[in-house]
Amino acid sequence: MNKTRRLQLHSWAMAGVLLGLWAILAILPKTRSVFLTEYNLVSLTVHMSYIAVIAVGMTLVIIIRGIDLSVGAGAALCGVVAAMLQMDYNQPAWVAIAAAVAAGAALGYWQGWWISKFNIPAFVVTLAGFNAFRGLALVLSNARGMSVKEDFDVVADNLPRSFSIAVIILGTLAYLGWLLHDTRRRKQAGAAVLSAVAMTADAVAALAVGGFMLSIYSSHGMPMPVFLAMAAVGIGIFLTHKTRFGRHVYAIVGNPEAARLSGINVERTTIWVYVFIGILTGIAGVILAGRVGGVTPGNTGNLLELDVIAAVVIGGTSLSGGRGSILGAVLGAMVFATLSKGMNLLEVNSNWQLILKGLILMGAVLIDVLSKRKQTT
């Protein structure tokens, strides 16, 4: 079984775990009346959206055997940049948002540059960022909470109903259409095609996701954070599978020397991976600021990086690099969000929640490691 198929299988398993959790929460007496409600599911998806956004970039970073510990602080700093432009310079929301995203890209470039030019371990560079970005956010804001203006709410509000429905239906159809089109072209070219079972499974999954989203978003519209997260996931998957950049990412981690001798610019590819996560960090910072109408530079995004890394790891991405699944990371974020929500509803003591989350993370990775070991021996 090759890596791609393993990861696909892992994602299916994650989806199974997620549905299992939902089924349990739908049955348990304490949660059954609350969990599977539209309100709850919408808040669940919004809650995990900014984690999912960064997780897309973190997956790429971890694939190249890196890590980014600075995303929480980076998100706060980008939020501060947006809030400053709004309040101190009286700029409209779109300028503030663009500046925040650009700031994120700059932070990513900064870190990627040190990592690739001087071979400083990503752990160290981003640990420095973890401190320095938080510090910079506090300095810029004079350590006071900052609010954003009303027009900034677009990033937290719901999209119009009709638009949401159109996006969901068209998105699902586009995926199904691409699936058929690709299969037809492959058949014509005599290339390998997906088995009928796999194709059906993919199609059913797409329809199920589309249907689920219609059921929870059609009455009030899709929340903007969810839309952004979906866009990030789509772009991330496209980048890794359909662009030269994505191929180079796998090549530079698989064998940097062979990649270099094939004419690939290893440094530049590395830098772009960090710029990518920087952009996504900026977007997450904007979402966070929009949701609460402002930034608390000392707290916003605190320890966010650990939630993101947990989601990525539980999603099947190996910390030793070389393989990773964006879809898995999103499902991982979803599983974690579900667990938090479920345990809150079950009124599990919050201290115990931490212990349980830790054990679940260990267990999930252990299963993955054991299944891999079984295969190699």
Partner: protein, 541 residues
């Protein structure tokens, strides 16, 4: 002969090896080799690459444990069964490997005592350690500070530390594997003086080298290995270099050529190559003028010195020469990977080029199949398809990767090169060596190069795949590709090359064109020394 008599005979020698035979799957690396080494003697061990020298050394050093080979080893008359390297050291055999095995960040004394640190009250006794190291260094005539960091020493000094360490294990026999490869001439002389003194005090050595000059200067006797067999073991004073070269290569080169023709006609140079008029019509693809690569590193000399050569379209030019003669350095430089300062001119298709990296080289139509296939040629975890398209992705699919186009082109290439793989999606690591090499070659064909640089293209490839790769290279050349082939495999060069440029110590030692290409002629140029005409020595074989 009775056991007793055998033992008595063995006692005369420090080391006696009898009937050593070692097989690897499909290959007999050593075939009944018997050698003895006398007390206070330096025995030279020579042979082409693959003759069995390293296998012999590994058996002697316990790397291949008793039981994994047949035959016996006696040290001072006692039969030995080494189960690991530690046993060999305890028994008094020390090996100084070609690659130095010192810990650079530790002091000389710490390195010398590594694993047997003197202790006092259970703690390392630093004073005693330095004293001990001082004593060991004295033995090899080294007068540097035992507390100096190894990394701060020159390479020849490090070599001395290695030898001191080898002697420090109360070695009665020290094996030196290419100890001069990294040394300057002056350093070689110094090393030889020290070895001479140690010999006088009773230590025996086996000296492995490609440099016949050195072997003749230093050794009392010379043992020649070829194809896993001991061809002869002669007193140095009774022989000369030409004779040794003959023994190393075998005299029946004509037979070899014929054999090649009979089994694999396609790998022979096409007849058109012989036509002189035809040849001059072909455009020159690569022209190098006075290329010089200056490295400010530890090496005593620059890796490339004043090299001029050219390669025409539809021609295979081979680079021959001993290890470290500059073959790989030249190919790397042509691929924009030269480490150091480059002087001289490189013309591709008549245009002066400056190659500052592989991307430049690829853009200029150069492709390199590196020597280290797994380390530098392939991304082992990636699929066959993705490896094939790695260098040419831009041309194949533009900005966005189109899976179908990519797979079509990859499949075409794989079919053309007869790559046999479980599937195109299989990780390239699962392929055999020969098929992996075809994938590397295929990767470069997709970039449509004008000049293909091949560095040891058939290393670690089995015989069948070798023939296929030869056929493939020949086919590409007949289609007009220019090939520069670096190889240490002389039969391969003789079989493939239209012309041979022999390098020695970074310089062009000579050039041979068909029909004057022969293993013996190449060896003669590569090892240097006496350049007496071959014909006069012919009768000696």
């Amino acid at each position: 002969m009775t056991e007793l008599a055998k033992a008595a005979r063995a006692a005369e020698s420090v080391l006696r090896m009898t009937g050593l035979r070692k097989e690897f799957p499909g290959v007999v690396a050593l075939d009944g080799v018997s050698i003895d080494v006398r007390p206070g003697e330096i025995l030279g061990l020579v042979g082409e690459n693959g003759a069995g020298k390293s296998t012999l050394i590994k058996i002697l050093g316990g790397v291949y444990p008793a039981g994994s080979f047949t035959g016996d080893i006696f040290l001072a008359g006692e039969r030995q069964r080494f189960s690991g390297a530690a046993d060999a050291i305890t028994a008094g055999v020390s090996i100084v490997h070609q690659e130095l095995s010192l810990v650079p960040d530790m002091s000389v004394a710490e390195n010398l005592c590594l694993g047997s640190e003197p202790r006092r009250f259970g703690l390392v006794d630093a004073v005693q350690m330095v004293a001990q190291a001082r004593h060991q260094l004295d033995k090899v005539g080294a007068n540097f500070d035992p507390e100096a960091r190894v990394a701060s020493l020159g390479i020849s000094e490090q070599q001395l530390v290695e030898i001191a360490r080898a002697l420090g294990n109360d070695a009665s026999l020290v094996v030196l594997d290419e100890p001069t490869a990294a040394l300057s001439d002056a350093e070689v002389h110094r090393l030889f003086d020290i070895l001479g003194d140690l010999r006088a005090s009773g230590t025996s050595f086996i000296f492995v080298s490609h440099h016949l000059d050195e072997v003749f200067t230093l050794c009392d006797r010379i043992a020649v290995l070829r194809d896993g067999q001991l061809i002869d073991c002669v007193e140095t004073k009774d022989t000369d270099q030409a004779h040794i070269v003959e023994l190393m290569t075998g005299a029946e080169l004509a037979h070899l050529d014929l054999a090649g023709k009979a089994t694999d006609p396609a790998a022979q140079p096409s007849p058109s190559m012989a036509g002189k008029g035809d040849e001059t019509l072909r455009p020159t693809v690569l022209q190098i003028e006075h290329l010089h690569l200056h490295t400010p590193r530890w090496r005593g000399r620059d890796p490339l010195r004043d090299i001029s050569l050219h390669v025409r379209a539809g021609e295979i030019v081979a680079l021959a020469g001993a290890m470290g003669s500059g073959r790989t350095a030249l190919l790397s430089t042509l691929f924009g990977q030269g480490r150091g300062k480059i002087a001289g001119r490189i013309n591709l298709d008549g245009e002066l080029v400056e190659l500052s990296g592989p991307a430049d080289a690829i853009a200029s139509g150069v492709a390199l199949v590196p020597e280290d296939r797994k380390g530098r040629g392939l991304v082992l975890g990636m699929s066959v398809t993705h490896n094939l398209t790695l260098a040419a992705l831009r041309d194949i699919t533009g900005r966005f990767v189109d899976g179908v186009d990519e797979e079509t082109r990859a499949s075409e290439t794989a079919a053309r090169l007869c790559v046999s793989a479980p599937s195109m999606d299989a990780a390239v690591a699962t392929l055999s060596g020969g098929n992996q090499q075809k994938v590397v070659i295929g990767k470069w064909l997709l970039t449509q190069p004008k000049l293909l640089l091949l560095d040891e293209p058939t290393r670690g490839v089995d015989v069948g795949a070798k023939a296929e790769i030869y056929r493939l290279i020949r086919g590409l050349v007949d289609d007009g590709l220019a090939v520069l082939l670096a190889s240490s495999d002389l039969p391969e060069i003789v079989r493939l090359a239209d012309r041979v440029v022999v390098l020695r110590d970074g310089r062009v030692a000579g050039e041979l064109a068909r029909p004057h290409v022969s293993e013996r002629a190449i060896m003669q140029l590569a090892v240097g020394g006496t350049t007496s005409p071959m014909s006069s020595k012919g009768g000696k074989a």
